[in-house]
Amino acid sequence: MADERKTIDRRRFLTVLGTTGAGAAVLSGCTTEKVEKLIPYLVQSEDQVPGVPTWYASTCTECGAGCGLHVRTREGRAVKLEGNPEHPVNRGALCALGQSSLQALYNPARLKGPMAKQGGAWKAITWDEAIATLAQKVGAAAGQVAVLSGAPRGTFGTLLGEFAGAAGGKVVRWQPFDLEPLREANRRTFGRDEVPAHDFAKAKYILSFGADFLDTWGPLVENQRGFAASHGFAQGGMARHVYVAPRAALTGLNADEWLGCAPGAEAAVALAMAHVVVQQKGGPAELASALAAHTPEAAEKASGIPAAVIERVAKEFAAAGPGLAVAGGISSQHAGATELCAAVNLLNYAAGNIGQTVLFGADLDHGDGYGAVAALAKDMAAGQVQVLLVHEANPVYALPAKAGFGAALAKVPFKVSTALVLDETAAQCDLLLPNLHALERWDDANPRAGLWGLNQPVMEPVTPGMHTGDVLLKAAQKAGGAFAKLSAADFQAYLKAAWAGRTGGEAGWRAALAKGGDYGAAPAAAAVKLASAQVAGDLPALEGSGDFVLVPHATRNLYDGRGTNRPWLLENPDPVTKITWHAWVELHPDAAAKLNVREGEILRLTTAHGTIEAPAYIYPGLRPDTVSVPLGWGHTEYGEYAKGRGANVLDLLGAPAGGFVAYVSQKVQVERTRGYRKVAKTEGTPRQLGRGIAEAMPLAYAAKGYTVEEAAKAAGHPPHEINTERELDAIAGWRKGQVGEEDGKGRRLGNYAGEHPMWGMAVDLSRCTGCSACVTACYAENNIPWVGEDQVLRGRELSWMRIERYWEGGTDGEPVEARFVPVMCQHCDNAPCEPVCPVYAAYHTPDGLNGQVYNRCVGTRYCGNNCPYKVRYFNWHAFAKAAFVEPLNLQLNPDVVVRARGVMEKCTFCVHRIRGAQHTAKLEDRPLADGDVVTACQQACPSGAITFGDMNDPSSRVRAAKQDRRGYHILEEINVRPAVTYLAKVRHVEPAEHAASGGGEHH
């Protein structure tokens, strides 16, 4: 036995087997692994059963939305994050950024303990030393103490405030995407300094002025859920969505109409629309007079959008009721952003949406805004801050260098950072006190009025950090004096005391922990009055003299740059461009033609403030007079995944003048360099070329219950691909013989005989926004390794689930349209991959799955070559070994095997979840119920676009979804009989227009 377990390599194995009879003995063991040890617990935890997940409720801290989490832990470590179905904000779904929180938890760059800068070098110190230093410095600062915190509103914030107060200092709360213009506008128009809630689900007409509510604006999961509810086709209707902005972000690509407005002119358009709405519906005289000058004609001049279009949209908006207009995204954050938000306030007010879809009183969490940070920086530069504590904020990176925060920081004698990894700000500090990750600590958040989320430690800390709350309390006890009132033993006690009023006794506290917090009912919408109708619709001035306006944008994956150190988010293609792992410059095709630039050419962008270089990406969803660059790249610290990757567009910006960072403020010079690089994008062919992959139909047809074929016929198009008569005969014969279609029972032989479920999926393309949350969920669930930039360039990414994005139109003056299709293994009944496998690794399971037996696979790749959907992915290298480095490997899902080099892998329909549910049902002596099996992608989807279940169960939801008239299969004509049904996207276009335009997909 001992001999059998020795590790032997392949060559030695062959030698032994080939030359000696002893080879048989070696083979018989089939265990060539090392001696395995079984190390028992000293004391078995009562709530952990090995092999059975333990779930904890928690709260996501990745952005200010405060979504509820269910954390799946196995053997004492968190392996998957899912949304908490009870949470009113996310209702069970979770975005890619939220899911990637696990990669912040297990990030290899996490600091191993407190460190002090001594002579320019970092030296590890003990926690006692660190706390003593902090207490001493704060005590000696004579009130000149400041805290810059990005922590959410909550009990920790209270503690920070008390600590700073005892030290005679102050706390500035700040997040880079703080929606300052929106709050300022609300203060002006309605006298309320607040971020209201927006009910997208209720809106019949959504008008967005640069508010990329599906990218980075507001609580994304809630927005998307609402958007899918209103804009997804149901009961013969759907809301209309018009996006007004220079660049069609993902939000714009999901609009029925994108109006490419000149940068800065969004306010003029909004005012003109309000003007029309008031003419239609009437309104206070004050409003009418304020809007009198803002005619559609004037707006046309400023924005380039025809007056007739503005008038039409405004009339539709007025008639829809209730509608919803939103503004204030990053790509429309220019010097006139406050005016824009105020204009949109008037528009909502005139249309009667306030209190209907714009709900004041919800009081969404926000920081103090950039103005407060600027004031703090001024104090710091003036030497009035002796000790600065930076908590969950990275202003040195996330603010333009010209804002001077870094320079002001240098003037502070003692800087402390609680960052988990060494970021740009922490690198300039003197003392590092790495906090615990949100999944390792006690915490809470109050993301909106009446809603409190709790965090509890779900596992032992990955690195020996210390809760910043504990650090502060210990430092306070050491410092004494004014700090004496901070007497809680630790932060857990402090938190529990704060919750005592909310939950009552221990039972209430435990109930809140189990639930995830105190999810009270949303407060009734506060009645608001128009305080001021004054808005100047002037075009904001732009700095510089370049040919293009620089429109930076924030991406769904990287957000403000906090996602850049997580390989899941780097490998998850940007939903719009499909680019992975590097930054880019977007250029309109016309501009590219004018400059003679092709994709991948390195462009140099220059403003008065700086220069950056990045490869060009030709993007039709952009005005020709603008270039757009994503935020979040160009880190100089923040761990090895982020460091030195791409360029930071903030380097092109000047010092912010007002109370917020005007991202759109520069004209930029675009120069060609002689450099070129291949863009690492996962996009194959950007157009469908008549293949009918992403089908769509006009609303009128969908309402009539047309199928895709009927819609095409009604629009005057032949079906996109016609089988010849011979093929049709063959297919009919096959169906008769193999499927037994005539009696509807199907033929089942051998292992396939008997009662089995038949797993199937339906994807509603009228709900899918292309956000790619499912992609990250799939990576997290199925131990999919990321392959990195070089391998993506070779097309070797392993994304079992991918979102394909196809362009329609965009030529001959037609508007450009994007269609998103999530593509995973289609689990074909008549799968082309199966018969070509020489070792039967690809085969069909009795329950209708296309199985892939990794241990049988010898890597011929015949299956991949024969797959018409290209959903089989080959492990060209030991990707898993390279990707899952310590401690990222702790995240691996024990229920799914990690695939080795040379193995073909693909979507399994989360077969381990199916088997797990079957095990559970069997133990409970009950049949599997509809909804017992939820795939990872389905679970994560904020739009609820994916349905999964047993197609043999007549009452299953998936069966109902598959019977939808819009249902179709991709590449139906090749008769592979996929188990995934897509429901065609529904568009707000006139059928006649559809016909005249050539119908997009039907050429």
Partner: protein, 196 residues
């Protein structure tokens, strides 16, 4: 390595035949020094070298625990009926008895002292694993206990109650072992029942 084994498994037919013969399930092999059920013989840790199976850091006698004292398997392997994993008893479980039970003879006393030391020094014993399946195999213990009852363990693990030192009686790492039983009982033999 695994793939090499598979590849060869497919080609070296002669070897396979030899293997199959070698690994035919053997019924209740009597270990050389095992006692008749009821009373275990006295053995010292030094004797364990002559016994089949890997030597363990503590000469834990399944024949005494499960045989002589008839302790149910699931008393220690507590999660076998509810989870894929059978569960390895925590040191606390050992001490539940061995706080009081000190051993009837010097050989046992010596071994039990090691358990107590491990508990006192808070260093769990590192057992050498005898049975495990490859990582691409998922063996749900709970389904098998559910279907075959709580004493079904012996089907794969052999008559542990008569083993002073546990060894691999059946070649559970060969898929034929699984399939034979699944064929006989006419139960699922779909690949993705176990391989995913």
């Amino acid at each position: 390595m695994r793939k090499a084994a598979l590849f060869l498994g497919g080609t070296a037919v002669a070897a396979i035949v030899a293997v199959a013969a070698w690994q035919r399930p053997s019924t209740a092999q009597t270990p050389p020094a095992a006692a008749v059920a009821g009373k275990a013989v006295v053995l010292t840790a030094a004797d364990s070298a002559a016994l089949k199976g890997p030597r363990q850091p503590i000469f834990f006698r399944h024949d005494i625990h499960a045989g002589q004292y008839q302790i149910q398997c699931q008393y220690c392997h507590y999660s076998a009926a509810v989870s894929s994993e059978p569960g390895v008893p925590s040191m606390q479980t050992c001490m539940g008895c061995h706080l009081l039970v000190g051993g009837s003879d010097s050989a046992n006393q010596k071994e039990i002292a090691k358990v107590r030391e491990s508990w006192n020094t808070k260093k769990p014993v590192e057992w050498v694993r005898v049975h495990w399946v490859a990582r691409h195999v998922h063996f749900p213990h709970q389904r098998h206990i559910k279907a075959m009852g709580p004493t079904a363990c012996a089907t794969c693990h052999g008559d542990v109650a008569r083993m002073p030192q546990v060894y691999k009686v059946n070649n559970i790492n060969n898929m034929g072992w699984c399939i034979n039983c699944h064929l006989e009982r006419k139960v699922n033999r779909d690949c993705t029942a176990c391989h995913y």
